[in-house]
Symmetry: C2
Subunit: 189 residues, 2 copies
DNA sequence: GTCGAGTTTGAACATCTGTTCAAGACTAGA
DNA sequence: TCTAGTCTTGAACAGATGTTCAAACTCGAC
């Protein structure tokens, strides 16, 4: 059997769930809809994911890992470029898409209602800010760690704002100005 | 009958729905839970609100009106103070509470999944940015309207970021720095 | 008191949802 | 080919959910 022809149904189920969550919110994610979207039978969803919560948790973890990867860029390039790249990547049109942002928003809302999800989310957020602070530290050896952390905090506020406002139709020019603001914070004397 | 003793059950139902939405998300808002929380019988919820969607819509509208009121402050005070006040009020500990922010987040997520809600939300967002741009215009007669609008756009990004990040435990000092940033944008030469 | 309009109740109904499970299909090794 | 283990199916079940509605209640006007 040729590779690629064989379908990984577990992955298809997860993608179907993420797609439904992004498009219709949590009320649109039910086992039957997921199965239909993934093209499998109802029972298979519960075969791969113990229950609905595990399925959502898997989606949340995948998105969190994706976010954290943003602040762990190519370790080959010099520190300043790495930081710049990380700051710019947040507004990459590939990432700043409505489906992705919408998915993030729904997962964030779920974390508000479920402390189990909240814990996962909080940990990922911590790792993100830590990663950003570390990037700043490497690029700006003159700054104390607390100052790096402070700047990372400030940058994250703007990034979250960009990201959230993008869902309401933030224009590209405004995005660019916000990116510049994060760069100014990172590279301020 | 003493005023205040008589309960406005319609209002109590709406408040119960908003409370549940804030705490447990949309899955926690069902007619029975709303009735229980409001202390009324199940049927009464459908008596005052045609269906569940109308109930959520009413909650969304109330929150939107509340937000827009932030950029329509006391018209008695001078323009610069009015603007400052509006910029600071966003981070007022009375407003920046977890229940309120959580409610906003859930409503935003719902707007992503339902184009009817999205339209209401978009209109409110437009009105908010317009209001902010108008406040800047009154405080800064030297700026062209387009420049005011641009600055309002930039400020809104930071405000949304503050607001969203506050849900993840943004500390007060970081909030203050973000507020200062919005003031710098508004009053920049 | 009686009437009537407005309000309030909770049982009933149809539908939807998460989960279980027995049965079948598929696959690789013997 | 046979077998054992894994994967896949969809019917079935129990419980939840939105909505309807007939009956009961409230209270001011007459």
């Amino acid at each position: 059997m040729k590779p690629g022809e064989r379908v990984d149904r577990q992955a298809r189920i997860l993608e179907a769930a993420m797609d439904l969550l992004s498009r219709h919110g949590i009320s649109g994610v039910n086992m039957r809809a997921v199965a239909r979207e993934a093209g499998v039978a109802l029972g298979l969803v519960n075969y791969y994911y113990e229950d609905k919560t595990s399925l959502i948790r898997a989606a949340l973890k995948r998105v969190d890992e994706h976010d954290i990867a943003l602040v762990k860029p190519d370790p080959a390039s010099p520190p300043k470029e790495r930081l710049l790249e990380a700051l710019r990547r947040v507004a990459d049109p590939e990432l700043l898409t409505t489906p992705y942002l919408s998915l993030r928003l729904h997962l964030w809302a779920l974390a508000q209602a479920n402390e189990d999800f909240a814990a996962i989310n909080d940990a990922a957020f911590e790792r993100y800010v830590d990663g950003l602070a570390a990037l700043i530290g490497k690029a700006r050896l003159d700054l104390a760690p607390e100052e790096c952390r402070k700047r990372a905090d400030d940058i994250v506020v703007i990034q979250n704002g960009m990201w959230l406002t993008a869902l309401l139709g933030l224009d590209r020019a405004s995005t660019e100005r916000s990116i510049n603001r994060t760069e100014e914070i990172a590279f301020a004397p």
